[in-house]
């Protein structure tokens, strides 16, 4: 369990950013993974009072506050209209309803976890992230850029016509995936996001090679085999739609 001396509810993004600069301070989202660490911090910075817990629907995109919970994403009715059941399919396996009522989209993105279903899902949807200091950039760029001490404000997902599928393989229902794939079909063709390789999710075209690795949940060869089967299956399903 993490420990810290001081708890501060940030009153502004500027204050949160400034407090976050010393390495001994930490920003918490839902705290689901963070609280498992044994790290000792001086100050815990809570963003819960900054109005970042809403999903706003604009004409061309959805603007999602970084403190929006996974349950809010899973149950958003407008998402179903634009993304079908993709959000539900990707998030329903994450531990349980109670967990998803706490875990935040910002925490899921900033932690850059290799097994993240959230990142695997958002990558092929042309998602952008907006930070307090660094401004707005694609999620793909953020994932490959050096990590900097900054505050994630919003996530933007454009409203576009596309077919989306999400598939994952797990040893048990609510376990971390052995492999996760989000496939998108739009006017330009197919785009895949492959997560839990076990490295962080990566965007690829169908003809591109993906590199896999081994860990406790599965070998490199097993993941490669799963990927080739799921990719073909998903493309076939989307072709028929």
């Amino acid at each position: 369990m993490i420990s810290f001396e001081k708890y501060v509810r940030a009153e502004s993004l500027q204050q949160a950013y400034e407090l976050y600069q010393p390495i001994k301070n930490v920003v918490g989202g839902g705290m689901m993974w963070l609280h498992l660490s044994n790290a000792e911090y001086d100050t815990f910075i809570d963003l819960c009072d900054l109005g970042l817990n809403e999903i706003e629907e604009e004409e061309d995109y959805f603007k999602i506050g970084s403190m929006v919970t996974l349950s809010q994403l899973e149950r958003n009715e407008s998402f179903k209209e634009y993304f079908g059941s993709a959000f539900e399919d990707a998030l329903k396996h994450i531990v349980g309803v109670q967990f998803r009522n706490c875990a935040t989209v910002g925490g899921s993105i900033c932690a850059r976890l290799g097994f993240s279903d959230v990142i695997t899902l958002l990558l092929p949807l042309e998602t952008e992230v907006e930070f307090f200091n660094r401004g707005r950039m694609s999620l793909e760029k953020f994932l490959t850029a050096p990590n900097k001490r900054d505050i994630l404000k919003y996530i933007y997902i454009p409203k576009k016509k596309r077919i989306i599928r999400y598939e994952s393989v797990r040893k048990t229902y609510t376990d971390i995936p052995v492999l996760a794939i989000c496939a998108v079909k739009n006017d330009d063709g197919y785009l895949f996001s492959v997560g839990c390789r076990p490295a962080i999710a990566k965007l690829i075209k169908p003809e591109e090679e993906v590199t896999f690795g081994s860990n406790q949940r599965g070998s490199k060869e097993y993941r490669q085999h799963l990927y080739s089967v799921l990719k073909e299956r998903m493309m076939k399903e989307m072709e028929e739609e």
Partner: protein, 152 residues
């Protein structure tokens, strides 16, 4: 630091450590239906309602509950007895340690969706672990509770 919150419709003011979890705080206030299970956000034994939504109290800071409404089974006795009876009738409570977590989640489910499908019940209860039984008893109990509640 000091926090002000409502627990089971009662205003509470208390001194806490800044890094104290809600689970530890609630147990320190004698709400023993909130169990210490895995304490790694997995088992659901510490489930409580925060503003009506089920959450894992082992992963929520007590400081973050400032100004919020907390409900534990101590404040939901009638519902707990009803649902608990159906679980017991199906032999799904060998040691009973996981029961409060199951019941809190079920209360939240039936409040949000009075007539959930079997699949919806499974999805809602998948965050609660039971190490004595095979989950079949709990499922039977909740399905029978649903049928009884809806007069079927």
């Amino acid at each position: 630091m000091q926090i002000n919150l409502r627990i089971n419709h009662e205003n509470i003011r208390a001194e806490i450590d800044p890094d104290m979890t809600l689970q530890k705080f609630l147990r320190s206030q004698k709400y023993f239906s909130v169990k210490c299970g895995c304490e790694t956000s997995n088992c659901g034994a510490c489930s409580i309602l925060l503003d009506g939504k089920p959450v894992l109290s082992c992963s929520v800071l007590a400081a973050r509950a400032e100004g919020h409404e907390i409900e534990t089974l101590e404040g939901l006795q009638k519902e707990a007895e009803e649902i608990g009876g159906f679980i017991a009738d199906e032999g799904a409570d060998q040691c009973g340690f996981c029961n409060p977590g199951y019941i809190i989640t079920a209360i939240a489910l039936f409040k949000e969706n009075p007539d959930p499908s079997d699949e919806e019940i499974k999805i809602w209860l998948s965050g609660n672990l039971c190490r004595c039984t095979g989950y079949e008893g709990q499922m039977r109990g909740f399905i029978k509770y649903r049928e009884w509640r809806n007069g079927r």
